[in-house]
Symmetry: C2
């Protein structure tokens, strides 16, 4: 490799050194100053061309987006905004970029426009920063669990089971849609499909994760999960990445501690390792908010918001207490909530979660002990309270601006209670025999949670649309690239 | 959390300390010695029960697979094979395990049998070791790229494109198979499907990876990929994990260097961090090989084999030279190859790869510059040689016992050459417009490769069936759990 990455050169003090740089032209000013970026840094290096001794035909090809090779001397920069620059000895065009056709010109493009050209948006500063932060967060997740001796498990993507017993799923098949095989009774003959049965894309690795945790102790998954929900919102994707730790011998308190530690660890890692990128995103957000009325702007800037999360304990509140707070709240009294909170048992809507997090507690909140009826069958059942109300050992972590960041629970380890609940909600035990074996052979308390990775990236980058924090978003009617 | 993980206790020197352990019973000898494992280590801790002062009904419940809580004092062990043990003060059964029904008894089970109960096999020593090594290798991959400032990209799982232009793919759909929508011409109406077009599971993240590399510089993917091939072999899975780095401004030499560095780095990491597990797997393999005739046994044990790879440079050979070696080889002369090598242009079969790696060079081999006709359209075309033969800048890394571990190439960056090749092999340019934009706007040399993660785990663990190195294998007619 003959070239040096720009990130290295920008830190270098070796003035006078002969260097080679390869990258893409961001701007070319005065027929003399080329700003070159190779993706390694948000920042460009400036290459200064001796235009009087350079062929005009060559200079004309130095257009935004063109790939160039520059050979020259690293010198101290006299210009503003950079410490070093390259005095060019030799300039080569590796690949042209027709300025009439290249969609990314040196001006501000809207995020909507950039979403249309998602294959090129990586070349902008904003998306360079977003995907560097995403990368840092992913690595931090692995490092956090590695330091704690958790085992990374690749749970299956194609599965015959539907973990939540609900939710819209994607089918996976090799059937020829023009001739779907049928058996003698005229039913679809899944025996003829690739796996010999109906299969779909996983909605969660939790159940398989439990199998591994009940042997290896502490495990986590980090992989893609899928929902075929027809929702076109700024917070939903049909394909998204999820982190799901599962721990044998953990109870709900341990589970909450782990989740809070994890979130603080990865946010701190991003602040420490992506300071430039987060600073850039902070400015972007401040700029964006200028068009909003004062009262809609965020109280804290991005960096302060992240540091605020690190500095404070998450508020741990029972569902029952939360309902009391919401009942007595102004927006409920003044009927400003779309869904008024009348009684215990109501499912919380986004407006209620936001009130609790953003208005009442003003920090991340862990809501626990939800009514059994609004949560999944596998959650550990509490003893009924004095009024005979049934709750489960669920925990949802709510973040300002995001809503639910984490959903988890202690699991029901008692086979009889689990079977009874499955029957109530109509999940056939035969189909889950393998899962139930964990409760048959050496069952034990255990717990786990799911962290939506894109929601984490949203929070840390300050972006507002989830489609802008995953390289190639999949949503209804959109599977481009 | 009141308990301490067994891995910590086994290293501890705090004799006399009061400890609590939770785990599963592996064996219970003489109504006195419980071997307990909590998954944190391959090794068990011994808990010594004062059986004379313990209820018999309780002792009867100490069966293989039961989950127990043990409270007592950490003491120096007088027995053989362990440094420490626990003198039990209090023994509690957390979950029973009916010895008549629990399939894992303290005896040797065949890998075939364990595959049938994949949800329980994590509790065996072999699979504890395999999945610890898998975990270490996965972390090492991330750490390797993180140290080199590569950006981890999550390329899409659901895609409308088929990267290799070939291969059997899985369809992804929300169609109701009982009423597939059709348009006025009677054709299947994919506009009615979730994404508004036909979609499938990705066979490779490479093309999307190229988009990111041509902006961010150096990126890698690490995610699941899929092949709907109906092959029931010990080396194929329908769902497997792949690592695909892609680097702007890399040529074939740089690509080879990176792949060799990566493989050595992760193997060294596993040796350093999973010494106990690899030692255990080495013994398992030696045991297994005892039933084989002498000449079929491996020349090197597992640890020596891994160290051998670290100590030697991979042999870099052109396809053309390899063909000459094969032509002149004994098995070709004696017609022992199933497919005899007659002339240049032949695709290499597994028997040829094995001959080169295991007999001729006796170390990993990087084969480069393959005939254009047997490789993918996107590979960079060499100038035709003196005989007018066309080759491409491909590289396959072949490993002993595994075959192809890595497949990669420098990419064709020239738009006209790429278009011409696509036309020759019948890939419509319209459908790949987004991909071709990388060659339209600032094209540049770049390269990348794919590393099959399960094949790597196979090599490092010494396992022989790929179904034994992924938690829940997906193969034709098998998507259990």
């Amino acid at each position: 490799m003959e070239h040096t990455r720009i990130k290295e050169l920008l830190k270098s003090e070796e003035f006078g050194k002969h260097v080679i740089v390869k990258g893409w032209v961001k701007t070319f000013r005065n027929n003399q100053f080329i700003a070159i970026n190779d993706g390694s840094s948000l920042n460009n290096i400036q290459a200064v061309v001796d235009f009087e001794n350079t062929e005009e035909a060559l200079l004309k090809r130095v257009t935004t987006g063109a790939a160039v090779r520059v050979e020259g001397t690293l010198v101290e920069s006299l210009g503003k905004g950079q410490r070093v620059e390259i005095k060019v000895k030799e300039l080569t065009i590796l690949g042209d970029s027709d300025p009439e056709k290249f969609p990314l010109q040196p001006k501000k493009h809207s995020l909507e426009f950039l979403r249309e050209i998602a294959h090129l948006r990586f070349r902008t500063g904003t998306f360079n920063a977003v995907f560097k932060v995403r990368n840092a967060l992913a690595f931090a997740v692995h490092q956090f669990f590695n330091e704690r001796d958790f085992v990374y498990m690749h749970t299956p993507i194609i599965t015959g089971s539907d973990a939540e017993g609900a939710g819209e799923i994607f089918k996976v098949t090799t059937f020829d849609f023009d001739s779907i095989p049928r058996n003698e009774q005229g039913q679809i003959d899944y025996k003829e499909d690739f796996f010999g049965k109906a299969t779909n894309l996983t909605v969660s690795g939790q159940l398989e994760g439990e199998l591994a945790a009940m042997a290896l102790g502490n495990i986590y998954t980090f992989g893609p999960t899928f929902r075929a929900e027809n929702s076109n919102t700024t917070r939903h994707l049909a394909e998204f990445w999820m982190i799901e730790p599962e721990m044998a011998f953990y109870e709900l308190e341990d589970n909450m501690d782990l989740a809070e530690d994890l979130l603080k660890y990865v946010i701190k890692y991003a602040l420490d390792h992506c300071a430039e990128e987060i600073e850039f995103l902070k400015s972007r957000l401040l700029e964006e908010e200028k068009s909003k009325p004062q009262n809609e702007r965020a109280e804290l800037n991005l960096v302060d918001k992240l540091n605020f999360v690190l500095a404070n304990n998450f508020e741990r509140v029972t569902y029952t207490d939360a309902i009391e707070i919401l009942k007595r709240s102004k927006p409920n009294q003044k009927k400003q909530f779309k869904y008024l909170i009348d009684e215990w048992g109501a499912d919380l809507q986004s407006e209620h979660e936001r009130y609790l997090v953003e208005k009442h507690f003003k920090k991340p909140v862990i809501l626990i002990d939800y009514p059994r009826e609004i949560k999944s069958f596998y959650m550990k059942q509490n003893e009924p309270d004095a009024q005979g109300r049934h709750t489960v050992r669920a925990m949802d972590i709510l973040f300002p601006g995001i809503g639910e960041m984490v959903g988890g629970s202690q699991r029901e380890e008692n086979l009889d209670k689990l079977l009874a609940r499955m029957e109530e909600v109509g999940i056939p035990a035969e189909e889950m025999d393998w899962f139930l074996d964990t409760r048959r052979f050496g069952t034990a308390p255990h717990a786990g949670f799911g962290l939506g990775f894109e929601r984490l990236v949203l929070f840390v980058t300050g972006m507002t649309n989830i489609r802008d924090v995953i390289p190639f978003p999949r949503t209804p009617n959109n599977a481009e690239f």
